[in-house]
């Protein structure tokens, strides 16, 4: 029977030769990732209540990113629990203040094509960029995984999003996802597997692919997947297994788009589904630009912003929170970071920060912001009266310079 990539990955984890969409199977978990907010502080008391131990500490990765920098007693306590618990539980893969979990995990080589993984965060589908079946779960379900090493799953159907051609200059993975969410809605993914394919997708770098798969969360899919290829291998710097679906495996839906026609997108408050072409929001004045988060401040995102900002000044408050320490260091070495600073950017910590509304820095009342983050839900990034527009690093940088929503292609020419 012809199988999709999703079916093949689930079948392997379920110890089966094949699986059928809709059936419920139990899968062995190859890797469980947690961060400080949904991880140790939540699972530790539950494991104690069960008097249970972690099934295999070598398969668990803990990364602090939400309550950093800690700014009060509560956040300091949450971070301290993460440090203590990982030591007590014998978890060696602990990355403290190294950046956002979805970026640090592959950056430190924990993901491989073919893996079956769970993460204590809704943006865990990021791992699908490496042809790993990875999805987000809540803290109690994480305890279930930590105790048993297993999780149940309804085998998903696959929705294929195929992009032919090539994306134009100034158009990024963020635009692709905002376009898809605008087109299909926040439940368009139906909690099924969304597979990104086509010439335009194969030409994307790993970090751009990660943005696609990450925002499958906003599209409502369980996982976002991309078949592994030479780009995957080059990023991981090791030989990998090739994981791809069979050409004629049955799909729930197959949508085809011409990548060349896609314009930069902007999503208006308060939903990523309010996405339109950038020209639709052209006159909106902004007073803050935020370049941050797992979908908007990786090395390549910083490079996109720098291409626009080189030799220019931001007209509004510009905040930059690089997604990982390594990416920040690379950006510093190559001069990208200096371009951002010269444009007037204020540098923030390598953490989730304002994106999740967890830190000390939040959007003030009535702020109008444009942001490279994934969600603009009412009140998420600060005051409920704040207005957040979502866009790519190119568009956010161009808008910062213009002081209003702006098509970055005007500045890249």
């Amino acid at each position: 029977m012809n199988q999709t990539l999703a079916q093949k990955l689930v079948a392997r984890a379920a110890g089966r030769s094949s699986v059928t969409p809709g059936e419920i199977v139990t899968c062995r978990v190859d890797l469980a990732m947690m961060h400080d907010s949904s991880g140790p502080r939540r699972v530790k008391p539950m494991l104690e209540q069960l008097r249970a131990k972690v099934w295999d500490p070598s398969k668990v990765v803990v990364i602090t990113d939400h309550y950093l920098p800690a700014y009060d007693d509560e956040s300091r306590k949450i971070i301290r629990i993460a440090r203590q618990w990982t030591r007590e539980a014998g978890i060696e893969s602990f990355y403290d203040a190294q950046g956002i979990c979805h970026i640090v995990l592959p950056e430190r080589g924990h993901l491989r094509p073919g893996m079956f993984a769970v993460g204590g965060d809704s943006h865990s589908p990021t791992g699908g960029a490496f042809a790993a079946y990875m999805f987000g779960i809540g803290a109690t379900e994480m305890v279930g995984v930590l105790v048993t090493g297993e999780i149940w799953l309804k085998v998903p159907h696959t929705i294929a999003m195929e992009f032919d051609g090539a994306f134009g200059d100034g158009v990024a993975a963020k635009d692709v996802m905002l376009f898809l969410i605008g087109r299909f809605g926040m439940d368009g993914g139906q909690y099924q597997a969304v597979e990104y394919r086509g010439d335009a997708i194969r030409k994307l770098s790993m970090q751009e692919r990660m943005t696609l798969c990450n925002m499958t969360a906003e599209l409502g899919g369980q996982v976002g997947l991309i078949a592994s290829d030479s780009v995957t291998r080059d990023f991981l710097k090791t030989e990998i297994e090739t994981w791809q679906g069979d050409a004629d495996a049955p799909l729930l839906a197959h949508h085809r788009f011409n990548a060349n026609e896609l314009a930069p997108q902007v999503a208006a408050p308060h939903s990523p589904a309010n996405a339109r072409s950038v020209d639709q929001y052209k006159d909106v004045c902004i007073d803050l630009a935020y370049i941050g988060a797992c979908t908007g401040a990786k090395l390549e995102d910083l490079r996109m912003a720098a291409r626009v900002l080189r030799g220019r000044k931001s007209a509004v408050k510009l905040l930059v929170a690089p997604a990982s320490l390594r990416d920040q260091q690379s950006a510093e070495r190559e001069g990208t970071l200096q371009v951002l600073l010269d444009a007037g950017a204020e540098l923030l910590a390598n953490s989730c920060g304002m994106c999740a509304g967890f830190g000390e820095r939040l959007l003030p009342e009535n702020a109008v912001a444009i942001s490279t983050t994934a969600r603009n839900f009412k009140g998420r990034m600060g005051a409920a009266s704040a207005q957040v527009y979502l866009a790519s690093p190119y568009t956010v940088a161009a808008s910062a310079v213009a002081g209003r929503v702006c098509d970055p292609r005007e500045m890249l020419a």
């Binding site: 949904s38 069960l50 926040m186 409502g220 369980q222 998420r380």
Partner: protein, 161 residues
């Protein structure tokens, strides 16, 4: 059993706002849904039911979203559809989440009786009975135990005895 009716795409940031996530659940729950209805947390009574449109619980994996509702005494959720991650979380906490295409027929303040196993909702105010999807048996067993933790407790006890 009073219904509190909300619209489509009720997200986890309005259910469990990020800035209160560091607080214990009893403190955080006071802010549950305040962005949409400032009186909700103070007015809701044990036994009440939250009713919504499509994609209830969109967004984060944070379990505090269903936990806050449960803490406030909500005994069931009824919606046209749920975000998949939220759906798993709700059931894992022992809070039944019932998919009902006709959820929009329910008015704010209606008195409901929800039977997640039989897959039906009686609207005592309108006299209607609405069909809904029954929760699969393997999940209802867990919900009846009080959620995944209690379910695991049983399993751990069985293994150690």
């Amino acid at each position: 059993m009073r219904a509190w009716v909300f619209g489509d795409n009720v997200d986890t940031d309005v259910l469990a706002p990020g800035r209160y996530m560091k607080l214990p659940i009893e403190e955080m729950a006071k802010h549950c849904l305040e962005t949409l209805d400032p009186s909700f947390a103070a007015s809701v009574r044990p036994g009440d039911i939250v009713v919504a449109g499509r994609n209830f619980g969109a967004g984060s994996s944070r379990e505090q979203a269903p936990a806050a509702l449960k803490h406030l005494g909500i005994v069931a959720l009824v919606a046209q559809s749920f975000a998949g991650l939220f759906y798993r979380n709700a059931l894992n906490l022992g809070l039944p989440a019932v998919v009902c295409n006709d959820a929009t027929r329910i008015r704010n303040g209606d008195r409901l009786r929800v039977d997640p196993e039989a897959g039906k909702i009686e609207n005592l105010s309108s006299g209607e009975t609405l069909a809904c999807e029954a929760i699969p048996a393997h999940l209802m067993a867990m919900v009846r135990d009080g959620g995944l933790l209690a379910h695991l407790q049983k399993r751990c006890n069985t293994i150690s005895s």
